[in-house]
């Protein structure tokens, strides 16, 4: 337990305190008590920056469950530190923003407890070296995210969105655990650093492709990649601070983090590279295309988040591709640097955009683009901030989004020079998809600004819009300043954060010396690509009414949402159908299953081991035994064939008496006695039951012959006989009864051996059989006396009499 461990657990500890404060002290908004927690953590984490920039790593271990290799190993390198600072820093801003956003009538205690749990979980994910522990925190993020999405749990849409995100991310998380366990199996360690040392084992193992696919399932579901992005737009039912924090800046980047963290392990594999690269690009283009058709501001931003995450993912894939094809190191590092840089940029501008959306929603009462418009003069500060952040998202100079978008386009254009082998002819698809995606990104960014702040003032907003209070504006202002700062002076990041992070993704020790600058010269193809993006985007935006009809062809029936909903419905219907098909509710069916199982298992055992029947030790059969056996068989046949239940009862009695005769033949006087007494009592009980049968079931009816029942009965009989015979023929050792014979008088001072065994040698059995009788007696008494619904019964009988 070191200070770093404490820093990770601090939010959860604070959650307990916060809950207690909320109970007893309500004068001040609860957020003020929460705010110091992320601030302390971010300041503490900042102190690591100098060490990490010098390519040092911090490694602290704490034993948790060492037997299964589950240790709380904290490992701070560039990548982990970058994420941790993002999480705690934006966490602080979000807490500050939520103080203004959430009124004190809300369940603030719940909100901040969930948020703090989430913070710990995220810090645990990114600062962990142990995959099993990482999975633990990963699931904690899913659960706390589920709770936060359903914060307004009285709304149906919130519950739907929470359930959807829960199902999808939990599915992915579980798959990821499978991948981790495979990795642990291959390398023999749960530590990521330990795995890096045995990359050769991973390269050789035939299990690696499965591990890759499983881990990527986890990363793709969490980071909302195609086709698992469907949960993210529905998660927008959460309060806006949650959307800003979880669904733009932190949680959805957990998958990105995982991919980045494991890139050194898997970059050699084609599966890994192609899934990430193509998955990311398709996600980016598809989501940015869909974002335009959305009417809700948060839905636009949700799709935009998906698209940007796809961009980052594809850049990571590009970095890995360079390793795979052996292209020069420079491409690799450019792509990875771009990924890291855009990760930071996206967190800044998307966080701010979500907060601004929240402000518009809070002040105007709606998020619908149709109802909003012309707020430029009413909300000038929000407008300025929106312009800065949205243009950064669109990738325009001089904001930071321009720099990373430029790097992205450059990397995508350069990738064609890599050695693709047979795929060289399709390599044009990468820059094409990237540029198309960027165009749509540009269009929806402009749409966002224009739809809210320009155009005619509509006046049909539920509230009269006005500028937001300062409390809500601080966080977006801070983030916008960062956008500008990183835009103008990107190199304050490059040496301190980006390079160490990129180096840990590439697992290299040589400093990169990245230098980011805005102007690359005219002969840079990425510049012309950006120009083309702006021109085509502007044209598309201007003629928006002319071409948006194509969204009408994208019917609800063909969406992935529809697929998910139908999948849910049909899985429910299907399991209903399967269950109904065999759970008939009739005892006879279940008995048939049980007996069939008995027959099949017995038959399989006999077929596999072979039956050995040995008749050499059988005793001679006397005539009286044959006659008694005949009596039993005849009575049995009568029971099966008779029409009258009374005859059945009598014949059952006859069988019981004949059985006692058998006991007499085989010299067991005590058994015969007991058998006789019990048989009499049982017959009497049967008669009592018979008397109480309802009138209409007393009529005589032969048991109907059913072929399946007959076959099962014959099978069970044959199987039981075979089992008995083979058990008799395969005695492995002598019986232990000689001991009882020798010692029945010596040790127990008794002459009746059966009774001595019952009460002396094996007295415990007798004790509990007595107990069984006691329980049965009490049970019968209870059944007869305790009639909680007796009143109804009497009413019924009275009704019948009437």
């Amino acid at each position: 337990m070191t200070l770093i461990h404490l820093a990770i657990i601090l939010p959860v500890l604070a959650a307990v305190v916060v809950r207690i404060i909320y109970k007893y002290y309500r004068r001040l908004h609860l957020g003020w008590f929460v705010l110091p927690v992320p601030l302390i953590i971010v300041i503490y984490l900042m102190t690591f920056i100098p060490r990490v920039s010098n390519n040092e790593v911090v490694y602290e271990t704490m034993h948790f469950m060492p037997r299964i290799g589950m240790n709380f190993d904290v490992y701070i390198d560039g990548l982990g530190l970058l994420f941790a600072i993002l999480i705690s820093g934006i966490g602080a801003l979000v807490v500050l923003y939520s103080i203004g956003y959430l009124s004190r009538e809300e369940h603030l205690g719940n909100f901040y407890v969930y948020l703090l749990i989430f913070m710990t979980a995220m810090l645990g994910v990114v600062l962990n070296d142990n995959v099993i522990m990482l999975y633990l925190f990963w699931e904690l993020t899913s659960i706390s995210s589920f709770l936060l999405i359903a914060f307004w749990h009285t709304r149906e849409r919130s519950l739907y969105g929470a359930q959807k995100s829960m199902l999808i991310t939990m599915f992915g998380g579980f798959m990821m655990l499978g991948g981790f366990l495979l990795l642990q199996n291959i390398t023999g360690t749960a530590s990521i650093r330990g795995m890096l040392e045995s990359v050769a084992l991973i390269q050789e193992s035939p299990l690696t492709p499965f591990a890759i696919v499983l881990i990527l399932l986890g990363a793709f579901t969490k980071s909302a990649q195609f086709p698992f992005y469907v949960w993210l737009p529905d998660a927008m039912e959460a309060p806006t601070p949650v959307s800003a924090y979880l669904h733009s800046a932190t949680m959805v980047k957990a998958g990105i983090y995982l991919v980045a963290r494991l890139t050194p392990l898997f970059a050699f594999s084609e599966t890994w590279v192609w899934i990430i690269l193509l998955g990311g690009l398709i996600t980016m283009t598809w989501a940015s295309f869909n974002a335009i058709s959305k009417d809700d501001l948060k839905a636009v931003l949700a799709f935009s988040t998906v698209s940007q995450l796809g961009l980052i993912m594809s850049l990571l894939g590009l970095g890995a591709l360079s390793v795979l094809t052996g292209a020069n190191e420079a491409h690799f590092s450019v792509a990875v640097v771009a990924a890291v840089f855009h990760l930071i940029n996206h967190a800044t501008f998307k966080g701010a955009l979500f907060m601004l959306t929240g402000i518009v929603d809070h002040e105007a009462g709606t998020r619908s683009l149709r109802k909003l418009g012309g707020l430029l003069t009413v909300m000038p500060i929000s407008f300025t901030l929106t312009v800065i952040t949205a243009l950064s998202m669109a990738g325009l100079p001089p904001f930071n989004g321009f720099l990373s978008k430029e790097l992205f386009l450059e990397a995508m254009i350069d990738v064609r020079e890599a050695d693709f082998g047979s795929l060289a002819s399709v390599s044009f698809i990468f820059p094409l998809l990237a540029i198309v995606g960027s165009i749509f990104t540009f269009v929806y960014s402009i749409l966002l600004i224009y739809g809210v702040f320009f155009g005619k003032r509509t006046y049909d907003t539920p509230k009269e819009p006005h500028e937001a209070p300062a409390l809500m504006l601080i966080s977006p202002i801070f983030l916008s300043v960062l956008v500008l700062l990183f835009g103008f002076f990107p190199n304050i990041l490059s040496g301190t954060i980006i390079d160490p992070a990129a180096m840990s993704i590439m697992a290299s020790d040589t400093p990169l010396g990245t230098h980011l600058y805005m102007w690359h010269g005219f002969n840079n193809p990425a510049l012309w690509a950006t120009v083309a993006v702006v021109i085509i985007g502007a044209l598309l935006f201007y003629f928006k009414d002319k071409w948006t009809f194509i969204y009408d062809y994208h019917k609800e029936r063909f969406t992935l949402n529809h697929l998910y909903d139908q999948g849910l419905i049909y899985s429910r219907l299907g399991s209903h159908k399967v269950t109904d098909s065999y759970m008939s509710g009739f005892l006879r069916s279940y008995l048939a299953y049980i007996f069939l199982f008995f027959i099949i298992m017995g038959a399989l055992t006999f077929l596999n081991t072979g039956i050995q029947l040995d008749f050499s030790n059988l005793a001679p059969v006397g005539i009286q035994e044959i006659i008694v056996a005949i009596i039993i068989l005849v009575s049995l046949a009568v029971i099966l064939a008779t029409k009258s239940r009374l005859v059945s009862i009598i014949m059952l009695g006859a069988i019981g008496f004949a059985m006692s005769l058998f006991f007499v033949f085989f010299r067991s006087a005590d058994l015969a006695l007991t058998q006789l007494a019990i048989e009499t009592v049982t017959t009497a009980l049967f008669l009592v039951c018979f008397y109480h049968l309802p009138k209409r079931s007393r009529h005589e009816e032969r048991v109907r012959f059913k072929m399946t029942n007959f076959l099962i009965a014959v099978g069970v009989g044959v199987m039981a006989i075979l089992l008995g015979l083979s058990a008799y023929s395969n005695r492995l050792f002598d019986s232990i009864s000689q001991f009882h014979i020798d010692n029945v008088y010596e040790l127990a001072a008794g002459g009746n051996m059966v009774n001595v065994i019952l009460v002396d040698f094996r007295g415990f059995d007798t004790l509990f059989e007595t107990l069984v009788f006691g329980i049965a007696g009490v049970g019968i008494y209870g059944l007869m006396k305790l009639r909680l619904n007796r009143k109804d019964e009497q009413d019924e009988t009275h009704a019948k009499k009437d």
Binding site: I627, V634, A672, L687, Y691
Partner: protein, 99 residues
């Protein structure tokens, strides 16, 4: 002498067993339920005889308890059946009858 006794006992056992079979026939066939109950009662008596014979054959006295028990049980069972046939109940609860 012993051989003679043995033969007699075995013969008697066979005869008793055959008469038990006869009783079972009556139990199945018996036109009315009363015939069947009487057959069951006779079956019990035959059972006593059979056990006595077997006890002789096995040279044991331990089985004599069983004979006594069967005597009691067969009586009780027959009474119970008889009452059931006559009144429809075995243990009637007259005091609650008008309930």
């Amino acid at each position: 002498m012993n051989t003679f006794l043995n033969v007699i006992i075995i013969l008697s056992i066979i005869i008793v067993a055959l008469s038990m079979l006869g009783m079972v026939y009556r139990m199945i066939k018996g036109p009315s339920l009363h015939d069947k109950v009487v057959a069951l009662d006779a079956f019990g008596v035959l059972l006593m005889a059979m056990i006595a014979l077997v006890a002789m054959q096995l040279h044991t006295t331990y089985l004599l308890v069983v004979i006594l028990l069967i005597g009691i049980l067969a009586f009780i069972a027959t009474i119970a059946f008889a009452k059931f046939l006559e009144r429809g109940v075995i243990i009637d609860n007259d005091r609650d009858y008008n309930d």
